[in-house]
């Protein structure tokens, strides 16, 4: 789960990670009010969406008067902001963050994430602030300094020194930087964060460090104990069908093909997509129905898959283990009574009681249900059906 910049900054403030003062606004009027409250004569109007690259897409603008604040807020609010992370359709901007201006002397990058190979968090810093870190990593990897932080010891000053000297900071700025980095590590650990990215981290004219931007993602498995983070969840930033699927214990991701897939298990679900691709078709979605594959979950699965108008056929691929295939077959038949399935459904059931299951499907005599003998056969039939063959 991700949160907005302004929300990440709220968490930062509680841990004394320096940020600028700012207010959230949903209308141009509120934006002006926010600017007046902040005072000063320069403000930044920032679109709040869950995607990076907002500045380049025209979602971050500098205003030198309150009338400019109004004008820019009016421009940004309601726009479909397109960045390299949103996809071509962009994302609707529903709120803007009005922040005071800052005297920026130099921009850096600072990030924290789990290193899966080391099995501990790593903090990364770079002098190339403001650039996409993936690009820096690709073109000039020597410009990224990394330190692994053993969670058993936690963040130590030497971690901070390694980063600070690596960035070429003068000696008198090192302690300020260490304090900043140490507080950031605490934000990360205390909230079960998956990643924090500050891009840019800025050094001001008076040699202070500030998080000018802030991006945070969290471990979904830990949300049960992160009530404050949970309250920050913005459902309007997530795919509605994915949210709905989640309510029924289904894991669904929409893709752009025309062969719908319903599979038990995430690995087999990905494998099914790959098989469809291999057989010359294009998968319309990833869908893991989980372990039970009952009539209700299968029916819900059909509903969700068929919300996508591109779907021309559905491939149901279930490998019954503890779940018996005859039960799944009955579930599929029940599901077709609950919901209207108007495309060919290719069903491959293997594993426990598969023979009985095929009998059950045959005897039900439902016109648009086609039995398949194995994974390849099912994929081929589904691809052909989607092509109208």
């Amino acid at each position: 789960m991700n949160i907005h910049e302004y929300q990440a900054k709220e968490l930062f403030k509680k841990y004394n990670v320096p940020t600028l003062r700012g207010h959230i606004a949903f209308t141009p009027d509120e934006a002006v009010k926010a600017a007046q409250e902040l005072g000063g004569n320069i403000w930044v109007v920032k679109a709040q969406i869950h995607a990076g690259g907002r500045g380049l897409g025209g979602g971050v603008k500098l205003a030198k008067s309150t009338s400019e604040v109004r004008e820019m807020a009016a421009q940004i609010l309601g726009m479909q902001l397109v960045t390299h992370q949103t996809g071509p359709e962009g994302k609707l901007v529903q709120k803007v963050y009005i922040e005071e201006g800052a005297d920026i002397k130099k921009e850096y990058y600072l990030g924290l994430l789990l290193d899966r190979a080391l099995e501990m968090p790593i903090m990364m810093a770079s002098t190339e602030g403001g650039m996409a870190i993936e690009e820096v990593a690709h073109n000039t990897p020597e410009k990224i300094i990394k330190v692994a932080i053993d969670p058993l010891t936690g963040f130590q000053s030497f971690h901070g020194r390694k980063l600070a000297f690596g960035l070429g900071l003068p000696v008198e700025e090192i302690n300020t930087f260490i304090k900043f980095a140490s507080a950031l590590y605490k934000v990360y650990m205390d909230h079960d964060a998956e990643m924090i990215e500050i891009n840019p981290l800025v050094k001001t004219g008076d040699s202070k460090f500030l998080a000018l931007d802030a991006k945070m993602g969290f471990d979904n498995n830990a949300l049960y104990r992160q009530s404050q983070v949970n309250e920050m969840r913005d459902l309007s930033e997530e795919e509605p069908t994915e949210i709905e699927a989640g309510k029924f214990g289904l894991s669904y991701i929409k893709l752009d093909g025309d062969v719908g897939c319903m599979v038990n298990g995430a690995g087999l679900a990905m494998g099914t997509m790959d098989t469809i691709n291999y057989e010359g078709g294009k998968p319309a979605n990833f869908l893991d129905v989980g372990g039970s594959a009952s009539a209700e979950t299968v029916a819900k699965g059909f509903d969700i898959i068929l919300k996508d108008p591109n779907v021309k056929a559905i491939f149901v691929n279930i490998f019954g283990g503890i779940v018996r295939c005859d039960r799944v077959a009955n579930g599929i038949i029940e599901a077709t009574k609950i919901t209207n399935v108007n495309v060919p459904v290719i069903v491959r059931l293997d594993g426990t009681n598969a023979v009985e299951a095929v009998e059950i499907l045959k005897n039900a005599g439902i016109a648009n249900i086609v039995a398949a003998t194995d994974l390849a056969d099912g994929a081929r039939k589904a691809v052909a059906a989607a092509k109208g063959e």
């Binding site: 992370q85 789990l114 899966r116 190979a117 099995e119 501990m120 870190i133 993936e134 990593a137 690709h138 053993d150 969670p151 058993l152 650990m189 079960d192 998956e194 471990d219 979904n220 498995n221 830990a222 049960y224 104990r225 894991s251 991701i253 893709l255 599979v263 038990n264 298990g265 995430a266 690995g267 087999l268 679900a269 990905m270 494998g271 997509m273 790959d274 098989t275 469809i276 691709n277 291999y278 057989e279 998968p283 990833f286 893991d288 490998f319 019954g320 283990g321 503890i322 293997d350 594993g351 426990t352 194995d374 994974l375 390849a376 994929a379």
Partner: protein
């Protein structure tokens, strides 16, 4: 022969008396696994499925001589259970539970390593030595005895692969479901040498997926140290970047962890890589001809 577990392995169950623990412990016992007891704090002294229940893992180990623990406790209690097992001298913990926080696993794994305890999982189907010992939730009947070792991040793809191996007339020595979370216990790199050293294993099937670089590490290891033929499939060739595909660790982030890079690394290491998972059995039959 086999790796890690066999018909003599003594197993306890943490979360023994819960619904999941009970159901699967019973299935494992029916398969022939020596479940010698279980742990449910507060229920010590009772009997469950004909076996003793203990309050602590230490008591269970002292009383039964168990060396392996199968963990079914709810996600919030997984790290505690793993650490308790490590502290009590268990040598292998098989963590079935799905949904344990990553931070918890980071601490639990570090402690397990310190205590010399191996772990499998979390969020995995477990481990099975065909027709001897099943410690997990997989359907045992699929795994006919034979000469193929199996390592997989995915549960149902493990069943799919084993089924194809058997349909081609071969069988399994041991199959290990290592799980697809960001932090897992035993991985390819630790399991490959075990299969290499097992005289009964003649070939290895390895199932990977997008995210992380364990498969890349495996490729480097295979190139240097593995003489037995390896067949591999990497799930998620058609997965979009930046999306979590069901498993917490199955995500292409920052352009890294793609199926293409893993497949290329494995191929360069001499592994027979299949593009479609439907071809795992056939590819295995091909490499077995040469053994």
């Amino acid at each position: 022969m086999s790796i890690l577990v066999n018909k003599d392995t003594k197993v306890i169950v943490q979360g023994f008396t819960g619904k999941e623990g009970t159901f699967h412990a019973e299935q494992c016992m029916a398969y022939g696994t020596k479940i010698v007891g279980g742990v449910t704090p507060g229920k010590g002294g009772q009997e469950h499925l004909g076996q003793p229940v203990f309050n602590t893992v230490a008591e269970a180990v002292a009383s039964t001589g168990a060396t392996v623990s199968m963990i079914f406790v709810p996600p919030a209690f997984v790290s505690d259970a793993v650490m308790e097992a490590a502290d009590a001298g268990i040598s292998l913990a098989v963590i079935i539970t799905e949904g344990a926080p990553v931070k918890d696993m980071m601490f639990a794994k570090a402690y397990a390593v310190k205590k010399d305890m191996m772990t499998i999982g979390p969020n995995c189907p477990g481990i099975i030595t065909a027709e001897e010992c099943k410690i997990g939730i997989m359907p045992g009947f699929i795994f006919k005895k034979g000469n193929v070792g199996l390592i997989s991040k995915s549960g149902t793809l493990t069943y799919e692969s084993a089924n194809q191996v058997v349909k081609e007339g071969f069988g399994i020595t041991t199959a290990v479901g290592i799980g697809g979370d960001p932090i897992i216990g035993l991985s390819y790199k630790q399991l490959l040498p075990m299969f290499e050293a097992d005289p009964e294993t003649h070939a290895i099937v390895m199932i990977g997926e997008i995210g992380g670089d364990l498969e890349i590490q495996a490729a480097a290891y295979i190139k240097e140290h593995i003489t037995k033929p390896v067949v591999a499939f990497i799930a998620g060739q058609t997965a979009p970047a930046g999306k979590r595909m069901g498993h917490a660790g199955a995500i292409i982030s920052g352009g890294a962890g793609t199926a293409a890079e893993k497949m290329a690394a494995l191929e360069a290491a001499g592994v027979k890589v299949v593009v479609s998972p439907a071809d795992i059995g056939k590819a295995l039959a091909e490499v077995m001809k040469k053994v």
